[in-house]
Amino acid sequence: MAWTWFHRLGSSPWIYRFSGQLLRYLLPLAIVLVVAGSVWGLAFTPPDFRQGNSYRIIYIHVPVSVVSLAGYYVMAIAGAISLIWRLKVADMAMRVAAPIGAAMTFLALLTGAVWGKPTWGTYWVWDARITSMVVLLFLYLGVFALYEAYDNKALASKACAILSLVGTVNIPIIYKSVDWWYSLHQPASIKFTGGSTIDPSMFYPLLLMIVAVYCLYTCLLLMGLRLTLLETEAKTAWVKKEILGES
């Protein structure tokens, strides 16, 4: 059983078709969830008693931050699989995951900065969470730049896989140390609404948004994967069959 799975994962046509089937349901679902979660968070939740309405940004900031961190792990694990088992699909997944993750990290930073203005009175505060996000963005950009610097793209993905693995081992240490650094220099006066004190009326829409953004991320990954599959295997028989059979 396990081996047929592995075999399927090595088979491009199967992945192309399966992900196409999956996307047919998952993409509309993700969009509906994101819209529903946003409307809920924007209009149907009470304001935070300390931050007022600006806290509504959290409904996108937190999910996007969570997914951008998870995205780095996705990228690194895909890289590891392509290094160890030489699975082409894993290699493509790593390449696709990098720009999506970087975009998510950028969104997290942007929304965090905009949230800071009404809350702290300034767009930028070197808060632990934001600082870790900046480091994460640079980790993504490093992988990106390394990929672009190599002419031989097969070697480029190998190099990026190694770099992202090194980054993965480092990320928990970075997060831990940045937390410690923040507590050392600035005893926390303003904190995010903590998990323990959050009211259910605010928590459920947040949970919904996290699930929605995860779904969306999966869709983006699969769509990128399908595109890369067709691009790189344009000369094979199954692509020809796929394209000509559709009409």
Binding site: R226, K240, I243
Partner: protein, 63 residues
């Protein structure tokens, strides 16, 4: 709805610009991320189809 009126929802007691800008940026980026691969996939399929059909044509001519 929590807010009393549409204008209340829009202004959010002064925090409106920040909140709406954030959501706007989110949907713009997400929209681009979703539409770009769909669009590229479509155009790639069209290009490949043309190429395959042209190839088949020359092959049948040779026969």
């Amino acid at each position: 709805m929590y807010f009393d009126s549409w204008s209340d929802l829009w202004s959010m007691a002064g925090h409106g610009p920040f909140v709406w800008f954030s959501y706007g940026a989110f949907f713009v980026v997400i929209g681009l991320l979703v539409i770009a691969p769909l669009w590229r996939l479509g155009s790639l399929k069209r290009r490949l189809k043309q190429r395959y059909l042209a190839l088949e044509k020359t092959q049948s001519l040779q026969e």
